[in-house]
Amino acid sequence: MSDACQDISQGHPLLEHVEVLGNERLAKGVGLVTLKAPRIAAAVEPGQFVHLRIAQGRDFILRRPFSIHRAEGDDVEILYQVLGRGTRELAGMGTGTAMDAVGPLGCGWRVADGVSHVLLVSGGLGAAPLGMLAERLAERGVAVTVAMGAPTDDRLVARELFEGVARRVEVTTDDGSAGMRGFVTLLTQELIAAGEFEQICACGPEPMQRIVAAQADAAGVPCQVSLERLMACGIGACLSCVVSTREGHKRACVDGPVFDAREVVWDASEVPPKH
């Protein structure tokens, strides 16, 4: 386990039988599933994820990782985008569907005591691991500003959540259907340069995270990013999920998914094939 992760002493992962309590379509190809998962819900920290066994057959055998968007009482919420077979099956799951989940996994966001204002940057489904973070920071009295971007207005998922807890929410859409037209990195350029933030937490497409990381670096603001890799085990054993860092290959599943942006060697880090 990475030192960073041990610092915040995140708990032990467990195998839990979970049940779908609700499954809501938010936009085309985007949904929010609520799972009854009391033990995971009790243990999860912002930025962690669950590894879901979506398929029952032996044809498609690997679990699929999903960030925990929110946790409340016995329940966890997952924000998902339909990409392939696993997420398609997830989207089709009705109330009562049983699955098993391994979690909570990974090393989440680390916002030290004393930090007073944090910028959260979300691109598209990047909102997924930031929802719980925004809530927890607000609870701790940390000021939160959110910069979020999406292709279109209806894809600004989690906007309401953020507006409920953040001091300020700025949006961009690729088509201008809400907020400024363009990528979220246009917004962050200004926001970061303005110098209000002691920390940045970013999640979204890897090129976006990379740009935000560079902006943060230029402004001298610490920045954390949440990186996705294809994962087999999800618990640190198989080395399928490595991220290139200054200290060599690190495992996104246990040393991440949240990394200090300056640690990441962006050039060598591949993104999974795009559609």
Partner: protein, 312 residues
């Protein structure tokens, strides 16, 4: 329950409490699974491949899912034998002292394999070695040794000179006749053979026109390969006199029994541990139940018990 099945089996001089071990590279050194598996129940722990110096492994993406299987091109990423001894072996000594540890060994040259073993000879909690001459994911060494008799024999001869501990040789399925290689390594003193390592495969993304793995090709594991694995275990068990450790697509106790029937003395659970982190325990418990339900007093009696004649 009027009797209880004796689950123990012997791999040469090494005695295992049950025939179920972990497949190299799928269980790290056990630490990551300690939240899910009582390590003291395993037949043995086989570690991830270890080399003399640290290896960085291949670029990402390193895995791709396929029908009933997965490809991996990890490339034997490992911190080298020194760090392995400090971290992994020490952790195992502290946390799983009762369970035999078999270290999976890799090298770019035959000499490197032997030097890894020499280094490991200095510690107590290594029960034996699994010499991996069959990894399809590294350019030098790896599978190249396991594809022809002469280099395979050379690696084994050098390793044999380096240790008197049980020496298991892990065979590649990517060969014309696996029994040739098995005989060659047994002739050089292998105490057992294990098989199969992964089948060399490829996955292509029709939407991007690119290979799904950064390295292009990788090793196929999981249920898809079970028929090939069973066939090779059966061939090798009939060709050599040493114990065979069978693996390839074992997901359930029944799968494990099939490998024993084909001639395996022990079995390894690999990819299944990714799907279900408790898989290895499920297989152990299921095999005990299987034996009990059928009045089989010794799990070892399953080995080679295949009835070759078709059902009448």
């Amino acid at each position: 329950m009027t009797f209880s099945t004796d689950m123990s089996v012997a791999i040469g001089t090494l005695s295992l409490r049950n025939p179920v071990i972990t497949a190299s590279g799928t269980f790290a050194s056990g630490r990551e699974f300690a939240d899910f598996v009582d390590l003291s129940r395993l037949g043995a722990i086989v570690t991830k491949g270890v080399s003399l110096e640290p290896w960085e492994g291949n670029d990402s993406p390193r895995i791709a899912e396929t029908a009933s299987g997965m490809l991996n091109s990890i490339g034997l990423q490992n911190p080298g034998v020194e760090a392995f001894m400090e971290r992994d072996l020490q952790w195992l000594a502290d946390n799983a002292a009762d369970t035999p540890v078999l270290v999976n060994v890799s090298g770019h040259t035959a000499e490197e394999y032997a030097r890894v073993i020499e280094r490991l000879e200095t510690v107590d909690n290594v029960a034996g070695y699994e010499v991996n001459i069959s990894c399809p994911n590294v350019d030098e060494g790896g599978m190249v040794f396991g594809m022809h008799c002469a280099p395979a024999a050379d690696v084994v001869a050098k390793c044999r000179r380096a240790t008197e501990r049980p020496l298991i040789v892990k065979l590649s399925p990517n060969v014309t006749d696996v029994t040739d290689i098995a005989r060659a390594v047994v002739a050089e003193g292998a105490d057992a053979v294990s098989l199969i390592n992964t089948l060399l495969g490829m996955a292509i993304d029709a939407t991007t026109f690119r290979p799904k793995l950064a390295r292009g090709v990788g090793g196929l594991s999981g249920p898809a390969i079970k028929p090939v694995a069973l066939r090779m275990v059966w061939q090798v068990a009939n060709a050599v006199a040493v114990p065979v450790i069978g693996m390839g697509g074992i997901m359930t106790a029944e799968d494990a029994v099939e490998f024993m029937l084909a001639g395996a003395t022990a079995v390894a659970v690999g990819t299944a541990s990714f799907v279900d982190p408790t898989a290895v325990i499920r297989v152990i418990d299921g095999m005990a139940e299987f034996c009990h339900a059928r009045g089989i007093r010794r799990a070892a009696d399953l080995t080679g018990a295949l009835v070759a004649e078709p059902d009448a």
